[in-house]
């Protein structure tokens, strides 16, 4: 039985916006198992990024954690002291986010960045940092000796992404969060990067949370997939189950609505219905106005995310116990 590394329980995160309160994450329960790559998939605005950042207790200034808990190896993250939190971030958990490349300091070369990152958290002699940096840069398939002396403007987008990845691994984190890491990469670089992620995972056994809106990327990388819709997790299953036998109507409709280079063009169908307003979501099941199977209960009661057999989770009244 796989060990749980991260456990999210009843997590609700809200934002104050001009029109009222926006609930970006709505009573979410999720377990991430040690050693897996979990894909968190959903369209823009579904809350996946907010959820992921909350794991390391990072919320936008105009947002707040309304309720819920996050446990990492059994420790309550939200109750950690400043010092514990500081050590937790980057040592236990590292994060590669969209636009991380722009966070590189233009007046520091790559080795300076590596040293900075390490010394912020541990007292380690420079020589050891050098060895570790070279190892990691080689692992991300860069010309290590050369790249170490380069400045950010001398690196291409793809190279910066690899440097960021190597930096995130410096302190040997147990858990890596990747938030849309390939959004600014060209197709070829993206393919190589996704392969690299799997290689790092296979070599180092790091648990990973891979957040994306791109179903192609998640199919390439994830062992298990959690699907989010309008602040809720509505289905969880292993990658093949989700793609070949989706249970939740939204999952099925989403997969069917993406045109790709494979499959029959005629099979592609749009998801019907109006896009919901995140500040005023529909009552009951949030997907019901767009769901072909919706019945009375769906309009009134929000379905819980329950185990529908064989570890598959779905939040849909079609599967509720009678």
């Amino acid at each position: 039985m796989a060990e749980v590394l991260v456990s999210i329980r009843g997590l609700t995160i809200e934002f104050r916006v001009p029109r009222g309160i926006l609930r970006a994450v709505d009573e979410v329960n999720l377990d991430i198992y040690k050693g897996e790559i979990l894909g968190l998939v959903g369209e823009s605005g579904c809350g996946k990024s907010v959820l992921a950042h909350a794991i390391i207790k990072q919320v936008d200034p105009n947002g707040y954690i309304k309720s819920g808990k996050v446990f990492f190896e059994g420790k309550d993250v939200f109750s950690m002291s400043e010092e514990e939190l500081r050590r937790f971030r980057w040592k236990d958990v590292a994060i590669i986010f969209q636009g991380a490349q722009n966070a590189l300091n233009p007046v520091m070369h790559v080795f300076d960045h590596m040293v900075d990152t390490v010394l912020d958290h541990e007292k380690i002699p420079k020589k050891s940092i050098l060895e570790r940096s070279l190892d990691l840069l080689k692992m991300v398939r860069l010309d290590a000796e050369r790249v170490l002396k380069l400045y950010p403007h001398e690196l291409s987008g793809g190279m910066k992404q690899r440097v960021i990845s190597a930096m995130s691994l410096l302190l040997n984190p147990k858990f890596l969060i990747l938030d849309e890491p390939t959004s600014s990469l060209d197709v070829l670089t993206q393919k190589y990067f996704l392969r690299l992620i799997r290689d790092i995972h296979d070599k180092m056994g790091i648990t990973m949370l891979f957040i994306t809106h791109d179903l192609g990327c998640v199919a390439e990388v994830a062992d298990r997939i959690a699907v989010m819709y309008l602040a809720n997790i509505i289905e969880v299953g292993n990658a093949e189950e989700i793609f070949y036998d989706p249970k939740h109507p939204y999952t099925a409709a989403l997969i069917r609505s993406i045109p790709s280079t494979i499959g029959k063009i005629g099979d592609v169908k749009p998801i019907p219905g109006p896009i919901p307003d995140p500040v005023l979501p529909p009552p009951g099941c949030r997907f019901h106005p767009r769901c072909q199977y919706a019945f009375d209960k769906c309009r009134k009661e929000k379905p819980d995310l329950i185990n529908i057999g064989n570890g598959r989770l779905a939040a849909c009244h079609l599967f509720s116990q009678k």
Binding site: G158, V187, V268
Partner: protein, 329 residues
């Protein structure tokens, strides 16, 4: 043989960059000696990665940019040799749908105020009353009903999908024979794209408009241009042309092959079983330092001596197919 609607003949567009106190001026060739035709009512997808010159090429076909060399012909006439009224008539016939709906819709104007100017400018309508009626009709055509609900609204009150529908309404409002859709669905959520693509396909058929559909997404290109052709672009040049399904199922040019091999597939078994294609370098050459001869040779697994000596031209490579590669001369 009927005349093409749009004919691009050896068109190049060179931009000057840099210069000033800190460096020398450099020239980049965004579009490099490109030739192709679009026929009445035809769908042509122009596919390539960001920076390949496809948007610049799109703007050249519309007369928004002027070529540095070469000609753009509309129904056989060089658009840059037309007189004022002829050019105005051409611009009415050639419309654009931008990636960002805010490039079409002024946030300080109501929807009606965005739709009315072209209707009046091209005298599609004779007075304000007809203009309001026509605008209403257009909104209904793009699925925004009842139109009164939308005409007085400002763009900020609309979703991305709704704004893009209005951008389409504006483009078709002047009865064009040719539309350029430049990454028209890229800013929309993936699940919304099909609705907009279906709408565009429907209107295209109804009004027999030709469409140059620019995108970096092969899946979207395949869906939209299923009955048409696909042009693949790399660093300013067209490297492969052919019927859409043929090119996607059986690409010939090494770049097209590698690109299609790397497109993420929403199918775990297929995605995992595909090996990673070999490429000599992941780095795309800068447009200020383009390889001599074939521009793809620095990354091509099949590079030979001739590739650094001569630039390959588009040559026939099967039924309605063309490839620019020395392996297939």
């Amino acid at each position: 043989m009927s005349q093409a609607l749009i004919s691009v003949e050896n068109v190049s567009k060179v931009f000057s960059v840099g210069g000033g106190v800190f460096g020398k001026k450099k020239s980049i060739c965004a579009v490099d000696d490109v030739s192709f035709q679009i026929n009445e009512g035809e769908t042509v997808a122009l596919v390539g990665e960001s920076g390949c010159g496809k948007s610049t090429l799109g703007r050249l076909t519309l007369g928004i940019l002027q070529p540095t060399s070469g000609r753009i012909l509309f129904r056989g006439r060089d658009i840059w040799r037309l007189n004022r009224s002829e050019f105005k008539e051409f611009r009415r016939n050639a419309q654009i749908i931008h990636q960002d709906p805010y490039d079409t819709l002024n946030p300080m104007r109501t929807i009606y105020q965005s739709l009315s100017p072209p209707l009046l400018h091209y005298k599609i309508v004779r007075n304000r009353k007809e203009c309001w009626e026509k605008a209403s009709e257009l909104l209904e055509m793009v699925g925004l009903a009842p139109p009164e609900d939308f005409l007085q609204r400002y763009p900020a009150r609309l979703s991305g999908g709704q704004m893009q529908r209005i951008a389409i309404a504006r483009a078709i409002s002047v009865n064009p024979s040719f539309i350029v859709a430049d990454e028209a669905v890229s800013m929309l959520d993936a699940s919304l794209r099909i609705e907009i693509l279906d709408l565009l396909l429907d209107l295209k058929r109804k009004f027999n408009m030709a469409c140059l559909f620019i995108t970096h997404d092969f899946g979207v290109a395949r869906y939209f241009a299923r009955d048409g052709r696909i042009l693949v672009m790399y660093l300013g040049s067209i490297v492969e042309v052919g019927p859409t399904e043929d090119v996607i199922l059986d690409p010939i040019h090494p770049y097209t092959k590698i690109l299609l091999d790397c497109v993420p597939i929403p199918d775990p078994k297929i995605a995992r079983s595909k090996g990673i294609p070999y490429i000599k370098s992941l780095e795309i050459p800068s447009l200020t330092n383009v390889p001599v001869g074939c521009k793809f040779r620095t990354r091509c697994p099949y590079e030979k001596d001739v590739c650094s000596q001569k630039k390959p031209e588009l040559k026939p490579a099967g039924r309605e197919r063309f490839v620019a590669c020395h392996m297939f001369s």
